[in-house]
């Protein structure tokens, strides 16, 4: 029997009621019936453009925001059914790394105090000496030194601050770390150092990462599995290498084509139709107005996420047409 997934998200929906000062309140659906699972010990990438709901997903998984409907089952427990005390105890197993290295560390605290903060979650909190040792060891493991514990955040570069944030996230030896755009604010050379650190932590400590970003190249370089999100919905999931090699959803294709890379010189033929100014919610697939292969059915019926081939899911009526022609005939079920 396949091992139970570490994180199991079922039908997660989150609506925000925009109480606009002026016009009648409009409902903004940030997450729309999202279902996914994350296996332990993997780096699970979530990629999507701004406004696709990936940050909302991060906050809900971290229990920092409540969903309108749906379940988050983490390590066997339904997070939102736990009472405060149980949730607090459970928090030791999942922590978070944020995007902005300059906004995620309290400028008034020393690095040691910042890194030790999550220990507050433990029922039996370690004493002062034990905490100091734990922090020192953790700083060493992220490439800093114990002496850095006495310094303040403003004395560090962006890359070093992200390492401190990672040390903070790992101090309680969590099973899952949610990294929301953890390297997006960093420069190329520093970005690579932090990505290596994440991969190393995954191997050495078996930490599972929910790695959220808008950058395909980063996900492709780091993630084992990947989920592509568009307007609050999961449109494609599967092993990262395969998804990027042969995407099974037109949006993933458009994303891959649009992303500039040092192998593609000059201007590629434009894949997508111009981006419609107003969101096309309501009936049908929300990508239809930009989709190069949109058909009549797409305007009427919203495609559900379905398994097209083992381990590969896609939410597109015409996904079969995207299957590479070499795919054996029997798999092409229409």
């Amino acid at each position: 029997m396949k091992k139970r997934p570490l994180l199991d998200i079922r039908g997660l929906t989150r609506d925000y009621v925009g109480n606009a000062l002026f016009s009648r309140p409009h409902v903004n659906r940030a997450l729309d019936d999202l279902t996914m699972t994350v296996d332990a010990g993997t780096i699970h990438g979530i990629v999507g453009e701004s406004g696709c709901g990936k940050s909302t997903l991060a906050r809900i998984v971290m229990g920092l925001d409540r969903p309108t409907s749906g379940e988050v089952i983490f390590d066997g427990d339904a997070v939102f059914r736990l009472n405060d005390k149980e949730l607090k105890r459970k928090r030791r197993d999942f922590q978070m790394v944020f995007q902005d290295p300059f906004g995620s560390l309290n400028p008034r605290h020393t690095v040691g105090r910042i890194v030790a903060e999550p220990l507050h979650v433990l029922d039996v909190r370690p004493g002062r000496a034990e905490t100091r040792d734990k922090v020192a060891a953790m700083l060493e493991s992220v490439g800093l030194t114990a002496a850095h514990a006495e310094r303040h955040p403003h004395e560090f570069s962006g890359g070093q601050r992200q390492r401190i944030a990672i040390a903070r996230a790992l101090i309680t030896e969590p099973k899952l770390v949610v990294a929301d755009e953890a390297v997006s604010a960093l420069d190329l050379s520093v970005q690579a150092q932090v990505l290596n650190l994440l991969m190393e932590l995954r191997e050495k400590r078996g930490v599972t990462f929910l790695f959220i970003t808008h950058n395909l190249a980063v996900v492709d370089a780091v993630a084992d599995m990947v989920g592509v999100m568009y307007r609050g919905r999961m449109v494609e999931t599967g092993p990262a290498q395969e998804v990027f090699a042969s995407p099974l959803h037109p949006y993933t294709q458009v994303l891959a084509a649009a992303e500039p890379s040092i192998e593609k010189f000059g201007r590629p033929a434009s894949q997508q139709k111009p981006i419609a100014a107003i969101a096309d919610i309501g009936v049908g697939c929300s990508f239809r107005n930009r989709c190069p292969i949109a058909a009549a059915r797409c305007a009427v019926e919203q495609p559900a996420l379905r398994t097209l081939s083992p381990g590969r899911q896609t939410a597109c009526h015409r996904a079969e047409d995207l299957l590479p022609s070499t795919q054996p005939a029997k798999a092409r079920r229409i």
């Binding site: 606009a20 000062l21 002026f22 016009s23 009648r24």
Partner: protein
């Protein structure tokens, strides 16, 4: 847009109601019996009781509050215990002094502060900037009524140019009455001008750092055009906010300045009513002042809509 106005209007009325209730309760708890004040202590108890009944003072608090509020809405603010005349008339008469004084002071402080603030921001760390900073610090530190005393000392006592106080009334000729208000208006305006200069300077400085001012320069606009066409309009919101808040201090200042220049304004009326325990007048004047402040803040909120299109939401 309309929803926003209605929402702001309703919160305005709610605040006014709460203010009137607060005033009424505080006044009601006051020691001192209005009837005794009017008839003097020698009056017999039953004539006092008859008067109290006539004035409706023996009814429960809520009824009296409702009656008073009803009166306020219809303009009948009741009669003054000491003068026996309708309070509304008293207030209108005194308002004819305080309102022009306040407006004169606002105009003066804006005329001084906005140019000074913008100039010192445009030429930061220059002589103008340091001078404006020092002058505004000075204006803020100096008590308004003391400025009034000094002005009287210089202009009327030693130079004798101006009357040392009093108010000839509007019918006595526009020039002379405005003249009488000049010194008090200056005394009232200086502290506000100091605060407004500093706020204008920091608001303009902050906007000057915004990217769109650099975009304007990249379009080829010289420094001065970028300042007046792009920076200043966006700096008006914080400036107008302070103008609204200052109105409260203006009224407090008016009470003092009217005392220095013994102008028959609303401040003096409230002050006299306090000393004579004329509770009904105190109630009405304080309510009037509070209403003035709240309405002024409402006007400031409205001006935001004009100044900052972001609040207007999606124009159709």
């Amino acid at each position: 847009m309309i929803v926003l106005l209605l929402r702001r209007l309703s919160s305005l009325l709610l605040t006014l109601l709460a203010v009137s209730a607060l005033i009424f309760i505080v006044m009601d708890v006051l020691p001192g019996d209005p009837a005794a004040i009017m008839l003097g202590t020698s009056a017999s108890p039953d004539t006092l009781a008859a008067l109290r009944h006539e004035l409706g003072l023996d009814q429960p608090l809520i009824i009296r509050y409702a009656l008073w509020l009803g009166g306020v809405v219809t303009g009948d603010l009741g009669n003054s215990y000491t003068y026996g005349v309708p309070v509304a008339g008293l207030i209108a008469e005194r308002l004819a002094v305080t309102l022009p004084l306040a407006l004169f002071a606002i105009v003066l402080s804006v005329a001084i502060a906005i140019p000074l603030g913008v100039a010192s921001a445009a030429r930061r760390n220059s002589a103008v900037d340091y001078a404006a900073a020092f002058v505004s610090q000075l204006f803020i530190a100096v008590p308004g009524f003391w400025v009034g005393l000094l002005l009287v000392l210089v202009f009327s006592v030693s130079l004798g140019w101006m009357p040392s106080g009093g108010f000839p009334g509007w019918h006595g000729g526009f020039g002379s009455s405005l003249g009488a208000l000049l010194l008090p208006a200056i005394a009232l305006a200086l502290p506000q001008a100091g605060v407004l200069t500093r706020v204008t300077r920091s608001a303009v400085l902050e906007v000057l750092n915004d990217d769109f001012v650099r975009t304007a320069r990249a379009k080829g606009l010289p420094r001065r055009a970028a300042l007046w066409r792009h920076a200043v309009p966006n700096a008006l919101v914080p400036v107008v906010t302070i103008l609204g808040l200052q109105f409260t201090f203006l009224i407090a200042g008016a009470v003092l300045v009217e005392n220095v220049f013994n102008l028959p304004g609303l401040g003096r009326l409230a002050f006299q009513a306090l000393t004579q325990r004329d509770i009904i007048v105190m109630q009405d004047v304080v309510l009037f002042f509070a209403a003035l402040v709240i309405i002024m803040n409402f006007i400031v909120d409205l001006s935001y809509l004009y100044l900052d299109p972001r609040l207007r939401g999606r124009s159709r």
